[in-house]
């Protein structure tokens, strides 16, 4: 095969700017080969290098007494005591899922699972955060069905439960859906592995599926135009094989119980390239790799294709010299390919050989440490002021408040997501103590009394209207959700979904959201231990709402002290914690959007000192077994939180009779549906009332007693009243109805 000449035009087609191409020539001291150009282009891509986001990501607090591994590895790790730790991360698979929803979502799940088990952790739970276009958009139903069945198809087969998540619909996602997937695994401290290629002379071992031409970056460009033999156009979306991944998972965990290896990393984005160079970079070493030894699915693959393939279900391992046979034995037992493809060297250069000749020789540091870093210009959009203006008094009052209430509860945002989570195996591994449908999923950690609570949150309307406050809210709400379950927030991971970072307005959204998130993380002492950035979520120049999804991990020392969001017993007392946080604020509210067709105003203000005390109070109250339920006020305000507490109970709806927590002077629709930050609806048995109130005083949390659980109706006295069974039915049927899906 003749080597394709590298020109500045070709570099540009690889997404490298003129300046970046110049930088490549200067670090190499010569023109790159075609293979080298491919390697630079993927390693310096936004996706792998974080070149536009790194300067801002540094603002996150990433340390803490529990943090065993912060950002920079395949997943973050947090100590949960007793010699155990949890490894977790969230990743996006937005673009592929829009092109091919089933495989895009499936391989997203596959990728995040590998990120977690490559650290030595056994995955025990997944979550997802999904955004689709408006429910009546012609593509939405197809995309929802495809993404949900893709997540189900992969997760169910590999046997990791999908225990919760969130799903929202908005016009801004019509051309760019978001598929963010999270996985958490459990690992003993001494079994934690990292992606490091240390020890000169140690063998580099390839395991897992064979390499094919799928998912090659710029595959359209590489086919035909550059190599007349490659006339087949391949889809850029990879195809998932959950069965092989299951074998890979078991084989890797079996191998990690030995001490035959020094490092391991999955071949995710940029496949063999990123795994080899990143592992060498972390260890400060180099390597030689012979591509002829790479197991191949197709004939005639070029070194460019081999290095850039994103075939799924593959890992790269650095084993201890002389222990290769142990590795081989385990992978052969699991019917997987295993091949020694190279070895670690001490010269800091990655040398790739193919058919007896060198096809790439790149200093490892050139690709990683010397990658471009941009502090891109940021500017507040000129339209932001207009966006934030809202005159609530001009909004017409609904004629029938009860009807509006039912409509909001049965709309796609609030409605029961059972149609979705029934397709996910959410019980496998027998740890799920709180099934999907509460503020947080709760999973026990077998062999201990502990449990973890998981929640993923982001209100992108808030982030659109004010990215700084929206970023704070994403962190606070997810912390509040895991605290409602009775746990202490111990760490988070995020998936930052934004538009084109080369636009100053988008960069301003990004920077502001990060600064808001970072401020909330500092205040709540919650470290960010891993994460992912997804830029360029734009179609025809129109970007999505800024959507920094936050997945929070909470720890319960005693799983028996978990709390759910729904009322349990007739006669229990209903209280509102954080009653002083109630706001008359419709900015970015569900009510404003659904009933008045507007996304405007400013999100509800956040008091971080209050949030910190609230989270601590909830955990104490749960630990002292004072709570029968806890559910935070979020989308839809007080009325929707109350309705959820009444109707989400798995064994049937209950009524409640409560006072309106707002003064009578507030317009009733505003009282019902205003949104606020820092208020939580609680219930307790009458016997616990005094202790709960006194605990609240200790944490300076303002409590308001509202009424009691029971009766046939959900009744906000003097404001609105709906039969619990009617509300429950509308809520259960709403999702499938809104999307035109079969129930």
């Amino acid at each position: 095969m003749r080597e394709i000449p590298v020109t500045p035009e070709l570099a540009r087609e690889h997404g490298l700017s003129g300046e970046e191409f110049g930088r490549i020539r200067s670090v190499l001291g010569r023109d790159p080969t075609f293979t080298e150009l491919g390697i630079f282009s993927v390693m310096w891509s936004e996706h792998c290098s974080y070149k536009s986001s790194r300067v801002h990501l540094r603002k996150f607090p990433t340390k803490g007494p529990r943090v065993l591994q912060g950002p920079g590895e395949n997943a973050g790790i947090v100590d949960i005591g007793g010699g155990l730790a949890v490894a977790f991360k969230m990743e996006s698979h937005n673009h592929p899922s829009f092109i091919e929803p089933y495989q895009g979502a499936a391989t997203g799940v596959g990728g995040i699972l590998r990120d977690v088990f490559t650290m030595g952790a056994r995955p025990i739970a997944s979550l997802n955060s999904l955004r689709f276009g408006r429910p009546d958009h012609p593509k939405t139903r197809y995309l929802v069905s495809g993404v949900v069945s893709g997540i189900a198809g992969y997760g169910n087969c590999i046997g990791v439960p999908t225990v919760g998540g969130e799903i929202y619909f908005d016009e801004c996602y019509d051309g760019n859906i978001l598929v963010n997937v999270f996985t958490l695994g459990v690992v003993r401290h001494e079994r934690i592995w990292r992606g490091t290629a240390s020890g000169v002379g140690n063998p580099v071992v390839y395991v897992g599926s064979k390499t094919g031409r799928d998912g090659i970056h710029g595959a359209t460009m590489a086919s035909g135009e550059f190599d007349e033999k490659t006339d087949e156009k391949r889809p850029t979306v990879q195809v998932g094989d959950p069965f092989t991944e299951k074998l890979l998972l078991e084989a890797c965990l079996e191998l990690m119980r030995t001490d035959a290896i020094v490092g391991i990393q999955d071949m995710g984005a940029a496949g063999l390239t990123s795994s080899s160079f990143e592992m060498a970079s972390r260890a400060g070493t180099g390597f030689v790799m012979d591509l002829d030894r790479v197991p191949q699915r197709e004939e005639g693959m070029t070194p460019y294709e081999l290095m850039l393939s994103e075939s799924q279900e593959r890992m790269l391992i650095v084993a201890k010299k002389g222990r290769e046979d142990e590795v081989r034995e385990i992978f052969e037992k699991w019917d997987l390919d295993v091949s020694v493809v190279g070895e670690v060297t001490g010269d800091g250069i990655g040398r790739i050989r193919w058919k007896g000749r060198a096809v790439a020789e790149i200093p490892v540091a050139a690709l990683t440490d010397q990658a471009p870093l941009y502090d891109r210009p940021a500017a507040r959009p000129a339209t932001q002021d207009a966006l934030q203006s809202l005159d609530p008094a001009a909004l017409p009052a609904p004629s029938d408040l009860a009807e509006t209430w039912v409509e909001l509860m049965s709309g796609p945002e609030m409605a029961d997501k059972r149609w979705v989570f029934r397709q996910y195996d959410h019980m496998i591994r027998t740890n799920t103590l709180v099934l999907p449908g509460s503020d947080a999923a709760v999973l026990r950690v077998k062999g201990t009394d502990k449990a973890v609570a998981l929640s993923v949150d982001c209100n992108s309307r808030y982030c659109y209207l004010d990215p700084f406050v929206g970023g704070m809210i994403a962190v606070c709400e997810s912390a509040r959700n895991v605290a409602c379950a009775g746990s202490e927030p111990v760490g988070l991971t995020d998936c930052l979904n934004f538009g084109n970072p080369e636009k100053p307005e988008i960069m301003w959204q990004f920077r502001s959201a990060i600064e808001g998130m970072a401020k909330a993380c500092e205040a709540l002492s919650v470290p960010v231990v891993s994460g992912n950035v997804s830029f360029y979520n734009e179609t025809m120049g129109k970007g999505i709402y800024p959507t920094p999804a936050v997945a929070m991990v909470g720890l319960l020392e005693n799983a028996a002290r978990r709390v759910v969001q729904w009322f349990s017993s007739e006669g229990d007392i209903v209280l509102l914690a954080g009653a002083d946080r109630l706001e008359v604020n419709l900015g970015g509210s569900l009510y404003l959007k659904e009933a008045h067709g507007k996304v405007a105003g400013t999100p509800p203000p956040v008091d971080l000192d209050h949030e910190k005390r609230l989270v601590a109070f909830l955990r104490e109250a749960a630990g002292a077994e004072l709570l029968a339920s806890a559910h935070d006020l979020a989308e839809g305000g007080f009325a929707c939180a109350l309705a959820e507490a009444c109707i989400t109970r798995p064994d049937g709806a209950t009524g409640a009779r409560v006072a309106n927590p707002y003064p009578d002077t507030v317009r009733p629709d505003f009282a019902m549906f205003s949104e606020c930050q820092g208020a939580v609806l609680l219930s307790c048995t009458p016997g616990k009332r005094e202790s709960l109130l006194s605990l609240a005083r200790r944490f300076r949390i303002t409590m308001m007693e509202l009424g009691t659980v029971g009766g046939e109706h959900i009744d906000i006295e003097g404001v609105a009243r709906v039969a619990a069974c009617e509300m429950g039915k509308a809520w259960r049927e709403g999702f499938a109805k809104a999307l035109g899906l079969e129930g």
Binding site: R422, Q423, I428
Partner: protein, 233 residues
């Protein structure tokens, strides 16, 4: 008393079955790799759920070829208790140890949810002592759990008392709406003529502890233990 939990490539409820047996019921359990060709030393066999060989061909169609399945045939022929759960049931069907076949759920979607089962017979080692008509709350999680057999086979199963569980309402009433997958005669589980081989789609190992939402699944493993104890195992 020692139970074998078979592990095929793609089994994924093996750990759950092991946990229920060993840590909940307290009976000795061991994983047995599919390439093993003997089951000597074991008193009962659990074929757990999962996606053996990815279900890429037909469910269970590849797993039935594993060496351990010959051992299961011998074990079953000698009267040993065998339970196949979910994919394990599908493997038993493909292996010919139980009659009928599985097709895709009538919803054409995977379904994971709690269902109710009416116990139809106490003749299997796993239902012994559970009164007929007793309603159990047990989850299902499958894409192909729609039991299918021709009329003759169904009649023979019914006449021979081989239907072990039927989907029902919490009250015990068998209705179309309580059937999560469209199974013929609302069948959730069947046994062989001798009664010692049971296949069922619902997952008793997932609900052997009250903390998980139901402990009804434990009844099946407790029944197995007393059945074995009575035989001096």
């Amino acid at each position: 008393m020692k139970t074998a939990v078979l592990v095929f490539p793609g089994s994924n409820c093996d750990h759950d079955a092991y946990h229920a047996l060993k840590h909940v019921v307290g009976v000795d359990a061991e994983f047995v790799w599919h390439r093993q060709s003997t089951l000597s030393g074991y008193d009962a066999v659990v074929i757990p759920g999962g996606f053996t060989y990815g279900d890429y061909l037909r469910t269970g169609a590849m797993a039935k070829l594993s060496p351990v399945m010959d051992a299961v045939r011998g074990f079953a022929a000698a009267g040993g208790p065998v339970i196949g759960i979910c994919n394990g049931f599908q493997i038993l069907l493909e292996a010919g140890l139980l009659p009928g076949a599985m097709i895709v759920n009538d919803s054409l979607r995977f379904v994971c949810d709690y269902v109710h089962l009416r116990t139809e017979t106490g003749r299997t080692p796993f239902t012994r002592g559970i009164p007929a008509g007793k309603v159990l709350k047990i989850p299902v999680a499958h894409y192909q759990g729609n039991y299918f057999a021709d009329e003759k086979t169904l009649s023979a199963l019914e006449a021979g008392g081989q239907v072990a569980f039927r989907y029902c309402e919490p009250s015990g009433e068998v209705t179309p709406s309580s059937n999560p997958n469209g199974s013929a005669n609302h069948i959730a589980g069947i046994c062989n003529g001798a009664g010692n081989v049971l296949g069922m789609m619902p997952h008793p190992e997932r609900c052997a502890e009250e903390v998980l939402g139901s402990a009804d699944g434990r009844l099946l493993f407790d029944a197995m233990v007393s059945w074995l104890e009575e035989r001096g195992r």
